[in-house]
Structures are given as structure tokens and as C-alpha cells.
């Protein structure tokens, strides 16, 4: 543990209102499952010292179907998501993604809201939310706003979330068509993605990739090419112009490019 734990403190509100008031008065860092935050504390990379425990907030938990939307509380864990009949019925690839996050312990603690707010381009659920055209409900003490998931990220680990806001829920409009998901990790479990892809085969196909750009990426031009009747090889050519993968500790640009193309081909043939 590189961080000085004795210097840390946290508030433990019981209601969302209380939490939002605290956030309005002081910039506190929300803690949900702490599965990302704790890593930062361990390596000493997280400099924040004042935290807001949001695990007690009932308002952030639960899964429901409202009209044509699947609504998931930001504080819902992967374990709950992967076992939810509603998720399995409407967004089975979200259950797939949840079941491939980390291992059992991480699934028991880690939350969907944490994955979104953490803003890693490798977050496994993010391509699913991208193809779902999900909507994020954000709240502060003064306001509530609905932000499309696909405009939530503004750059590498940058989002439009304001310091006084919490993500309250994530809404996934239902969709027709076959859903497809593939995580390519560094190993079979407890793995960060080298590449992760979600797709929906509808009239206008939807395709998203993680770990190939500074943010999760919806491949609009590739989608358009396929919808317009391009050959799969041409579509792969378009895909290559949309992604900007890099060499890092986990993989290489060349590998990511090749696999992105292969996965698109696999999805299209499925």
C-alpha cells in the first residue's frame, strides 16, 4: 500500500439527497465497489484523500424494465447483472460482459456505474453500452440530466461528469436483432482486455470496440459501410481507419488491428 491511509477519510451518507448535498459542498471522490479505486491507492497513483461512500444508497441499486428501457442502477454489481432475468432477456451481452469481468470477487463488488465512471478504454461493459445507445442519468443537488453514453467520454479518461454529480442509473433501450460480444483478454480470467467488441445485427448494424482508442468507440463509418452493402473486407478496411490502437504492455497495435478485423468478420458471418 503506497498511499498514506491515515490521511484518508470518507463520508457515509444514507440517502441520495444527502450524498448529493455533500458533493455540492465539497469535491469528494465517490466510492462504489472500490475495485478500481483501491488499485489506485495501492500503487499510490490516486492522490485524492476525501471520499464519499455511495454503497448504502438504495437509489443506486436494482434493475427494472420501464417502457422500452432496461434500467440499471449505477451501484448494481456484476453478479446481480449477470444473474438478472431482465438483463438476460433484453441485453444478454451485458450479462456476458459482466460474467467476464475479473473473477468472482470482483464481480461481487464491482459496479456498472464504476465501470462507466472509471472511464478506462478497456472497460468490458462499455462497448455494450455503446451499441445499446445507453443513456446515463446524472444527478447533482441542483439538477438532473440524461447524457447519451456515446457522448459521455471526451478524451482519454475524460468525461462530461461534473464533480458534484453522480451517475444514478444507466438505461438501455431495447433492440431487435442478434447481439454479439467478444472479450480478448490477457488470459481466461482476471484479465484486462486487449480488445473487446460488442455488436448488434439489425437493419443498421451497431458495432463498438474497446481498447482500440482513447475512449470506447462506436464504429459509425464501418456500420454505415455494412448497412450500405459493402463487402466485409471493405468494411474491415473502413474499420482500420476508425480505430487508433497503440502498443502497450498488454498487446501491440498490429495485433489489435488484425484481431479487430477478424472479430468483425466473425460477427458478420455469425
Amino acid at each position: 500500500m503506497k498511499s498514506a491511509l491515515s490521511q484518508l477519510s470518507f463520508a457515509r451518507p444514507r440517502t441520495l439527497e444527502e450524498a448529493l448535498t455533500l458533493l455540492r459542498d465539497e469535491p469528494l471522490v465517490p466510492i462504489a465497489g472500490a475495485t478500481d479505486l483501491y488499485v489506485g491507492l495501492n500503487f499510490g497513483t490516486l492522490k485524492a484523500q476525501r471520499f464519499l461512500d455511495i454503497t448504502r444508497l438504495e437509489e443506486l441499486r436494482g434493475i427494472s424494465v420501464t417502457g422500452d428501457r432496461l434500467v440499471i442502477g449505477a451501484g448494481t454489481t456484476y453478479t446481480t447483472i449477470m444473474h438478472s432475468a431482465s438483463v438476460r432477456a433484453h441485453w444478454p451481452i451485458l450479462a456476458d460482459a459482466a460474467s467476464q469481468v475479473g473473477g468472482v470477487q470482483i464481480q461481487n463488488r464491482g459496479t456498472l456505474g464504476g465501470n462507466v465512471a472509471n472511464a478506462s478504454p478497456a472497460g468490458d461493459t462499455l462497448p455494450v453500452l455503446a451499441v445499446a445507445d445507453a443513456i446515463l442519468q446524472l444527478r447533482s443537488a441542483q439538477s438532473q440530466r440524461a447524457v447519451p453514453f456515446n457522448s459521455f467520454y471526451t478524451g482519454y479518461r475524460q468525461t462530461v461528469l461534473r464533480p458534484d454529480e453522480l451517475i444514478v442509473s444507466i438505461e438501455l433501450p431495447m433492440v431487435e436483432g442478434k447481439q454479439w460480444f467478444r472479450k480478448v483478454g490477457t488470459r481466461a480470467a482476471q484479465a484486462i482486455s486487449k480488445l473487446v467488441m460488442a455488436a448488434v445485427r439489425t437493419e443498421a448494424p451497431r458495432i463498438a470496440l474497446g481498447s482500440v482508442a482513447p475512449t470506447p468507440l462506436r464504429l459509425r463509418r464501418t456500420e454505415a459501410a455494412l448497412a450500405g452493402g459493402s463487402s466485409i473486407e471493405d468494411a474491415i478496411g473502413v474499420l482500420q481507419t476508425e480505430i487508433t490502437p497503440i502498443d502497450d504492455l498488454r498487446s501491440s497495435e498490429a495485433y489489435r488491428r488484425a484481431v479487430a478485423g477478424n472479430l468483425l468478420r466473425r460477427f458478420w458471418a455469425s
Binding site: R187, N262, L263
Partner: protein
């Protein structure tokens, strides 16, 4: 009564299962300070200036000038070349320069030490290095004459990377000033190595006591490094006059401590059309890192195993361990053999391919049988089991049929045949002159050895040997915690020697004791006659002849033998290699404790699978860049294949109940079997780990 050959409850089981077992970091001693090591951030150069950019009140600060007058700034091992603290020259990143201690861990971590350097160009490529740490040559027959008989010559170059031990407990010790000297409590494989190193640091007359605390794995990674960390804790403790604890976190442990030596092995082999090996020319290059440490002996074992378990009259093996500006590489389960066995076993499949025969046939034709001689000229006797393990594995997996059946699918199957010498090389065991002792207690006997329990089952297996020999219940045998002032030097817990060698000494102790007890039980004898201790020294078999100059003779008292068959699946989209099934047939002389023996083989095979597929140390500018459990991936259970473990027993006459060494053997087989399974799939790879990125380049991305 028979306790040998049954899977009795582990001596250390309950303590570990309940959490009662105390590891170094669990211990706290009144007044104890925490220690920290300030390390070099450059791979090569000189320290110019050290600045302490913090309030030093309450800190104990140690640098090279604090080495005691009677002592020397060298971690004594094979050669005296590695300092405890940098004198001036820096040879690798993470080299210890300054030590700090403080009662408050957070203050300790926050302290900022600024070191200025004069930087020099480093060498990272062992082939570009001009400084060798050790060279050796094994010569048998006449290479030219051999090649003259060959119908086909097959060449190949094989490469392996670093491997990190990832023992579950990082390195850690506590040093406590005691009797004008020091007592060390720590996570240690070889307590007497630490004594030797500290006597070099403090002077030969200093009081040094080393106690092994419960240890969470070692795999060789706690063979030499604990001497370094114990030296650091000692310097701080003596200066502060207080106990000092140093426990590394995972990142520091990965960055600073030893790894498996990367290797480059070149083979040039002459074969006759019928598959007979007639000439083997082998070049072995190891990346030793920045100091000699154990590289000479790792190179030695690697070279001795480099011709594989095969008969060939004309062999030349030239080895060299080269200096590079990276942290010293060191002991790791297998000790050079996994590297060279990988090369020869991958090469054998290429030879088979060149001749148009299958992998089994080429091995059957050349496998060593009793009466044959190895590359060093050792004549093998009845305990040679190369063919039996091969046949069992081939039959059990229906290898030939399966290989045909899988053709054209995305699955491949490969095998490897291997052996591993038990105990120290050549005259090493004679020189060690290891001792073990048994003492009577009021309810039985207590074993006194410096062999350490590091998860592999030392205490249990030793107690079984003693109980069986004495004819007393297993429960009546205690095992003393290794404390170098209380137990004799049984030699290091390395080289697959703890059962075969130390177990054998204990068996002799027990035989002597049994004669002495007559009709009495140990407890009865104790009550009648009081305390009694029996000490015996190892007596290596008289027939062992070894010449260190020419590298000829009986390299090992015996060998354990193995054949692994691995089936893999290749994902065409991602080039991920998934090991589906592993069959490990291993001949170990005698499994004293079958469950533990299987445990060793399962664990060693999993470690071998990791070495083959996922474990990649990314060295950037001489430092491990992926020093975390997130980015240095070892196999999880989901990455580990289903395993079929088969124990064969062909006794070694001088081992306890026929036992040979088995701890390292399972590490040797999986990597070449995986590479050969990939070759079966048409992937021509000669380097591990076989990461998807490498497999993709080998396939030529689609």
C-alpha cells in the same frame, strides 16, 4: 504399518488452513522499525551524489559506509562480486544504494532521496555482451566424425524469456539485534546461505542466527535473494539498535529480485535416415544479469541437460552465461534445464519433420536405456526410465491416432520427453556434506534439519520417512522450525534434493536410532535414559566420479523422467492458445506422499504452461515494465488445462525407499509440448512464451 506411500495429513496443514501460521509480515516485535531500500533508477553508471530531501529526524539511514569494519560489502555466494549496497558503480536498475528505517511506515515511504548519476551505456543483449560470467564445454566423441555419418543435418535456434516466480508471499525478513550480533526471521529457502552471507557482511566472528518463518512459496526465488534483504535489515537494525522489518510489496519484489535466465540455444544435429542421432552440436547462451550470483551452476545444469534424454556418441555442448545490465537472474525451479530441454524437445520435432517420421518414433529410436551413456559420459543403470514414461504417455493418450484425427482441425497435440538430475551436480553433494539429526522427545522424536517447508511438503515427507523407518506413528514425529543455532546444516532446499538426499540422511539416522532403542519406543527410551540426539552426514554413493575440469562423469546420482502430452486449441481469430488437456507421466522413484507428489506435478505443470503461453516479462530499459499481478499474467485455474497425472516408480537404490527428486522435473516438460502441439497445427514457433501476438506473426496475420 506403512506410512510411506500414503497421503497422511500435512504437518503444516492446519496452521495454514486456519491462519494460525505466522509469516514474516505477521510478526511484530516491540520497538520494531520498518525498513526501505532506495534503489538505482539507471541500468549502468556511477553514483555522483546522494541528497536527503526530507526531515531526517527519527530516521535511520544506512549507506555503503555503514558496512562494519570486520565485514565486507559482498553477498558471499559462489563468487564475491555482488555488493549489499552500491559502492559507486551501478550495474542494473533497482540496485540497492541507501537504506532507510522509521517507526512510521507512511513517513518512511514519503521520504525523498535524490540520487544523481553519471550514466553509461548499458548492455541488454546477452549476445552483444562481451563479459562472460562463466563458460563451459561438454565434449563427447568426435563431432566431425559424427556429422560425416549423417544423412540429414537439422539446425534450429530456440529462445526463452525471463520468468518471475510469483510465490504468493513476497520476500521479507525481520532483523533483531541479539548477543552483539543479529537474528534473522524470514521467508527463506536456505537459512545457512543467509548465515554465510551475513558472516561476510559482519565478519566471521559475528553472532548470526537465522530462523525460517512460515514461507509462502519459493520456487528458487528465495534461494539467494534473502541473503541480500537480510543483509539490509541487519545493517539498519544494528545501526538503530532496534528490530527492523523489511517486506517487499509485489512491485518491488518483481522489479528487484531474481528471475529465470532468458536463453538462446542453437542446435545443429546430424541424423541418419533411420532417425539415429549421430552428432549434436549445441550452443547455450544464458542472460546472467549484472552479477555472477548463481549463473555458473544454472549454466552447468542447463548444459548437462541440453542434449536431452537421448543417446548420441558425438556431442559438443558449449555454454556461456553473459553479463547484462539487468537485475541478476537466479535460481528458479529447474535451474537451467527448462530452457535447454525446451530447445532440444522443440528441435526433436523438427528433426522428426525433416525425416518424415512422427515425434514418438524419433524419440523411441534415441531415448536413453540402461547401459547407455549421457553427454557427460555417465553410464545409466536400471533406474533409467525414458522409454517407460514415453510408452505410457503415448499409450494413455492414444497419441498417434489422436494426432492423425486432429489433423485439419483447430486442435493440435504435442509431446515432450525429459529428465531431471536429482541433487547437486557431480561432486557437489560430497562437498556439501549435509547433516541431519533426530532427537528424542517425551512423546517420540523430533527432526532437526535446515531443509525448509516452502509449501512443497518437506516436514510431512521427512516425518513419514522417519516414522516408517522407526516403525512409530507419524503423529509421534515432530519437525523443528529451522533455526541455524539449533539444527545442523542439511544443505540448501534446492535441486530436488530434500527428499532424496536429506530424506536419506534422516532414514540413516532413524536406522541408527532404531538399533539403539532396542525394544523401547522413543518415549520410553527418553524416560529411561534422558535426551539423546543422533546426527548423520550424507554419504553419496561411492561410484560417483565427476571431473569439474572436463565436465565428464556422473553428473547426478540419479534422474527422474517425464513425458508430457499437451493438447491445445488455437483460436483462428485471436491466435490465443488454449491448453485443453495435459497428461504428465513422471517417474519419481517412489512417491513418499502421493498427494503431495501429484501436487508438485500439477503445480509444476501449471507453472510450465504459464512459461509456455502467458508469462512474459516485459523488460524496458533494463527494468521489468509489467511488474504487477495485473500485467505479468500467470495462469488462473481457467487457463490451466485438465490434467492427468501418472506416477511411475522405478526405485533409485540409494534414495529413501527408492525416492528420486521430483520437485523440478514437472517444470521441464510443458513448454516444449505446447510448442510441438502448435507445430502440429502448422505454427512454426521457436520462442516462448507463445503469446497470441507471437503466434500471429508466426502465422503471418491473415
Amino acid at each position: 504399518m506403512s506410512v510411506v506411500g500414503t497421503s497422511v495429513a500435512r504437518k503444516d496443514g492446519i496452521g495454514k488452513a486456519t491462519g494460525a501460521a505466522k509469516y514474516a509480515d505477521d510478526l511484530s516485535i516491540p520497538g520494531m522499525l520498518f525498513g526501505r531500500t532506495v534503489r538505482s533508477t539507471i541500468p549502468c553508471g556511477r553514483v555522483k551524489r546522494i541528497r536527503y530531501d526530507f526531515d531526517t529526524t527519527g530516521f535511520t539511514i544506512v549507506d555503503r559506509r555503514d558496512i562494519p569494519l570486520d565485514g565486507r560489502n559482498v553477498v558471499a555466494l559462489i563468487e564475491d562480486d555482488q555488493p549489499f549496497l552500491v559502492e559507486r558503480d551501478v550495474r542494473h536498475v533497482a540496485e540497492p544504494i541507501v537504506l532507510l528505517a522509521h517507526a512510521d511506515r507512511e513517513k518512511l515511504l514519503a521520504a525523498d532521496v535524490i540520487i544523481e548519476y553519471e550514466v553509461e551505456p548499458p548492455v541488454f543483449d546477452p549476445e552483444a555482451s562481451t563479459e562472460s560470467l562463466k563458460t563451459l564445454t561438454i565434449d563427447k566423441g568426435h563431432l566431425d566424425a559424427g556429422f560425416a555419418q549423417a544423412d540429414v543435418i537439422v539446425e534450429g535456434t530456440y529462445r526463452t524469456g525471463h520468468q518471475e516466480h510469483v510465490y504468493i508471499e513476497p520476500n521479507g525478513v525481520i532483523a533483531v539485534p541479539e548477543d552483539g550480533g543479529i537474528a534473522i526471521f524470514g521467508s527463506i529457502q536456505c537459512p545457512f546461505y543467509v548465515v554465510k552471507a551475513l558472516k561476510s557482511l559482519l565478519g566471521p566472528k559475528a553472532h548470526v542466527r537465522v530462523v525460517q518463518t512460515e514461507t509462502g512459496g519459493g520456487f528458487g526465488g528465495k534461494e539467494e535473494y534473502p541473503s541480500m534483504i537480510a543483509g539490509h535489515a541487519t545493517l539498519l537494525a544494528l545501526k538503530a539498535g532496534l528490530p527492523v522489518k523489511i517486506v517487499y510489496d509485489r512491485t518491488e519484489d518483481m522489479i528487484a529480485t531474481t528471475k529465470r535466465h532468458p536463453s538462446i540455444v542453437r542446435h545443429r544435429t546430424g541424423v541418419k535416415r533411420d532417425g539415429t542421432l549421430v552428432a549434436m552440436d549445441v550452443e547455450v547462451i544464458l542472460d546472467g544479469g549484472a552479477y555472477i550470483t548463481l549463473s555458473p551452476v544454472v549454466l552447468s545444469r542447463g548444459c548437462i541437460h541440453a542434449a536431452g534424454p537421448y543417446r548420441c556418441d558425438n556431442v559438443r555442448i558449449r555454454g556461456r552465461a553473459m553479463l547484462t545490465n539487468t537485475p541478476p537472474n537466479g535460481a528458479f525451479r529447474g535451474f537451467g534445464a527448462p530452457q535447454t530441454i525446451f530447445a532440444i524437445e522443440a528441435h526433436m520435432d523438427r528433426i522428426a519433420e525433416a525425416l518424415g517420421v512422427d515425434p514418438v518414433t524419433i524419440r523411441e529410436r534415441n531415448a536413453l536405456v540402461p547401459g547407455d551413456t549421457t553427454a557427460t559420459g555417465q553410464r545409466l543403470t536400471a533406474d533409467c526410465s525414458a522409454l517407460p514414461v514415453l510408452r505410457e504417455a503415448v499409450e494413455r493418450t492414444d497419441f498417434r491416432r489422436k494426432r492423425e484425427a486432429l489433423r485439419g482441425t483447430n486442435r493440435g497435440i504435442g509431446l515432450s520427453l525429459f529428465y531431471h538430475g536429482s541433487g547437486f551436480t557431480g561432486s557437489g553433494e560430497l562437498r556439501l556434506a549435509s547433516k541431519a539429526a533426530l532427537e528424542l522427545t517425551d512423546h517420540g522424536v523430533r527432526i532437526l534439519v535446515s531443509s525448509t517447508e516452502i509449501g512443497q511438503g518437506t516436514r510431512t515427507m521427512h516425518a513419514q520417512i522417519v516414522a516408517e523407518t522407526l516403525g512409530i506413528p507419524y503423529e509421534d514425529v515432530d519437525v523443528a522450525q529451522p533455526d541455524t543455532t539449533l539444527v545442523p546444516d542439511s544443505g540448501p532446499t534446492v535441486a530436488s534434493r530434500t527428499c532424496m538426499v536429506v530424506g536419506r540422511i534422516l532414514q540413516r539416522c532413524a536406522e541408527d536410532l532404531k538399533r539403539r532403542l532396542g525394544d523401547l519406543t522413543p518415549a520410553e527410551y527418553y524416560r529411561a535414559h534422558g535426551p539423546f540426539t543422533i546426527v548423520r552426514e550424507h554419504e553419496p554413493p561411492g561410484w560417483i566420479q565427476w571431473d569439474d575440469e572436463t565436465y565428464t562423469g556422473d553428473a547426478y546420482a540419479t534422474y527422474a523422467w517425464g513425458c508430457d502430452v499437451v493438447e491445445v486449441e488455437l483460436d483462428a481469430d485471436t491466435c490465443e492458445v488454449r491448453p485443453l488437456h495435459l497428461t504428465a507421466v513422471q517417474e519419481v522413484g517412489k512417491a513418499i506422499h502421493p498427494a503431495l507428489a501429484r501436487g508438485q506435478i500439477e503445480g509444476g505443470s501449471a507453472q510450465g504452461i504459464g512459461y509456455a503461453i502467458v508469462e512474459h516479462v516485459a523488460m524496458r530499459d533494463g527494468v521489468m515494465a509489467n511488474a504487477s499481478l495485473t500485467n505479468y499474467t500467470i495462469p488462473t485455474t481457467l487457463d490451466t488445462p485438465a490434467m492427468d497425472i501418472v506416477l511411475l516408480e522405478n526405485p533409485y537404490e540409494d534414495g529413501p525407499f527408492g525416492a528420486k527428486g521430483l520437485g523440478e522435473l514437472p517444470m521441464d516438460g510443458p513448454a516444449p509440448a505446447v510448442i510441438n502441439a502448435l507445430r502440429h497445427l502448422g505454427v512454426d514457433l521457436s520462442e516462448i512464451p507463445a503469446t497470441p501476438e507471437r503466434v500471429m506473426s508466426a502465422c503471418g496475420s491473415r
